[in-house]
């Protein structure tokens, strides 16, 4: 068996999908379950290339329903398990992940968004925001990290395992086809050498007997009466609300005196960042706000920004899926809203700059 996959830290150059595979290794994941779909395939390709060297496992299932449910099975058996998918695969994954919500199974799913609806394009979009945050029946008790670059794909994939197991809500890393395929340098590292504690997993089912006694375990996704369900969902909601403030992550800069604040997430926030820097150089008062967690959403933080500026410009590669989250978060604010929506198409900083200049 080879030694640790990553010793110390190392600057490397690779595709986003490879980054995810390396991050899962660095996080000491035990097994990946998956079914191929572009643009996430190389996560599986690289995981399966590396897995045998490090005593890891892989199971290719017959579809994403199975991939999702087998991931849950792995977790229930105490394995640090994950899966990855995109587009219509994400659609199928909603049923197992809503079961994970109901049973509080700490699953990790990496999504590389592609164009929709249906198979549409294999290339790119931000059209899986609604589905990843609130898909499936239920209340969307999930955690969703929207990454913007390869370093974050690495960092947040590692973090996702810790978050999932700590709070026991299904956790998603939401990338996209651009991040999946593009090549970029980043630093990969052994998290434990950096002082990041990796969560210890434990089986939910099939535990060893203690002092000769084996307690029965019963986890449920089926309830008999409305009241019985209501009690459980209420408890989950309270826990979710309680933990949300410590889970929420966001980035902001130049908002204090801004007349317009650009709100974007994921890879689009790179264009927004470039645009804000350029517009500031020209003396225009423009700010930047980026939710990193789309669920739970940094609502209080964005509300504070909204109350202190004149306009929020919402920019995304979908027809307003992030915008719905924003509107919900800032309800009651009198800030004006402007939008730059390009469903399934990338957005450049030049386009954002032009849009903002047209607003002043």
């Amino acid at each position: 068996m080879a030694e640790k996959p990553i010793q110390g830290e190392k600057r490397v150059f690779m595709t986003g999908n490879e980054v995810v595979a390396w991050a899962a290794l660095a996080a000491k994941a035990d097994i990946m379950y998956g079914y191929p779909i572009t643009p996430q395939n190389e996560i599986m390709h690289y995981w399966t290339r590396m897995a045998p060297k490090y005593g890891k496992r892989f199971l290719q299932t017959e579809d994403e329903l199975s991939a999702g449910f087998t991931t849950l099975g792995g977790v229930l058996a105490g394995r640090k398990a994950f899966t990855a998918t995109a587009g219509p695969g994400n659609t199928l994954m909603q049923e197992p992940m809503s079961m994970a919500e109901m049973m509080r199974i700490p699953s990790v799913v990496v999504i590389q968004q592609r164009g929709g609806p249906s198979t549409a394009t294999v290339i790119y979009s931000q059209q899986e925001v609604t589905m990843t945050t609130y898909g499936g029946n239920g209340e969307g008790f999930r955690i969703v990290y929207s990454t913007a670059n390869h370093q974050e794909l690495f960092d947040y994939t590692i973090k996702a395992f810790n978050t999932a197991w700590k709070y026991r809500f299904p956790t998603f890393v939401l990338g996209d086809g651009y991040q999946a395929k593009m090549r970029e340098s980043l630093i990969i590292y052994d998290p434990e050498e950096k002082g990041v504690e990796l969560v210890q997993t434990e089986p939910t089912l099939g535990r060893e007997a203690v002092n000769g006694e084996k307690k029965p375990v019963h986890i449920r996704n089926t309830y008999n009466t409305e009241e019985e369900l209501y009690e459980v969902v209420t408890r989950y909601m309270e826990e979710y609300m309680k933990y949300a403030p410590e889970i929420v992550e966001y980035r902001e800069f130049d908002c204090e005196d801004a007349d317009i604040v650009i709100v974007s997430h994921g890879v689009v926030s790179r264009a927004a960042k470039g645009a804000v820097q350029e517009l500031r150089k020209e003396g225009l008062k423009v700010g930047y706000f980026r939710p990193v967690t789309l669920r739970p959403f940094p609502a209080d933080q964005l509300k504070a920004v909204a109350d202190n500026t004149m306009t929020l410009l919402l920019v995304e590669s979908s027809l307003g899926q992030m915008a719905k989250l924003v509107k919900d978060a800032i309800f009651g604010s009198t800030v004006a809203l402007a939008t730059l929506f390009k469903p399934g198409v990338g957005i450049t900083s030049e386009e954002i700059v032009a849009k903002v200049k047209g607003m002043f």
Partner: protein
């Protein structure tokens, strides 16, 4: 004579490597440099593994330079990325074309198997297969990893050090790569055909050789514009 170049003097080269090793960039630069010497050149996109960062988006530009390009155009493809890329009939016969032929091959062992589909590839003694290595990729970062990787790819005629970190590349990193690739090549009993580096390092290098004595080729980056 075959297309103005005696058959025995045709240059037939295949470039192979990992994702982001820079195999296509090296192949494109090689084709352009041959064309600039007045040679007749065909470059073929034989990456059937993944249809992004391929020659497709710069096909017209290369053709305008006078290079023949055997590659799909994006609009001609069906189910891009979903159903695999199929071979163009011209791809199968590409080695039978007059002049020099440069093959840009898909990644890894599976990608290399495309050579089994090319007429004449097995018999053509002039066909050289070069593996493009970037030590910035963790699976080909060490001597042992490179040796193992290249052994799986046989037959191979030489290694190319194309160590880089995209925009974050430094000359020091390239030289470090030269050391690792040269050691791996010794173990494999293969030559290091060249070290490739961006033209922006020309002044800092101050010569034609890297620190291991390998010949340096300067390249211009075209592939950054070829996403899908």
């Amino acid at each position: 004579m075959f297309g103005g170049i005696p058959i025995s003097e045709r240059i037939l080269e295949a470039y192979i490597g990992e994702y982001a090793s820079g195999k296509s960039e090296v192949a494109v630069n090689r084709a352009i440099s041959l064309q600039r010497k007045g040679r007749e050149v065909t470059i073929a996109d034989l990456d059937l593994v993944e249809p992004f960062y391929t020659l497709r988006p710069i096909k017209k530009m290369l053709e305008q330079m006078g290079i023949r390009v055997v590659a799909w155009e994006t609009g001609e493809t069906l189910g891009l990325g979903e159903t695999g890329s199929i071979m163009k009939p011209e791809m199968r016969w590409v080695l039978k074309r007059p002049g020099d032929v440069i093959l840009d091959i898909g990644y890894g062992v599976e990608g290399a198997k495309v050579l089994n589909l090319i007429e004449g590839a097995a018999e053509e003694k002039q066909l050289k297969v070069f593996v493009v290595i970037n030590v910035g990729r963790p699976l080909t970062a060490t001597i042992n990893d490179i040796v193992e990787y290249v052994r799986d790819l046989a037959p191979v005629h030489g290694l190319i050090n194309n160590s880089h970190l995209g925009d974050d590349t430094t000359l020091e990193f390239i030289q470090e790569g030269a050391g690792v690739v040269t050691e791996a090549a010794k173990t494999l009993g293969l030559p290091v055909t060249a070290t490739y580096m961006e033209r922006r390092f020309e002044a800092a290098l101050g010569g034609k050789f890297d620190n291991m004595g390998n010949y340096v080729q300067f390249l211009d980056r075209y592939m950054a514009n070829t996403f899908w």
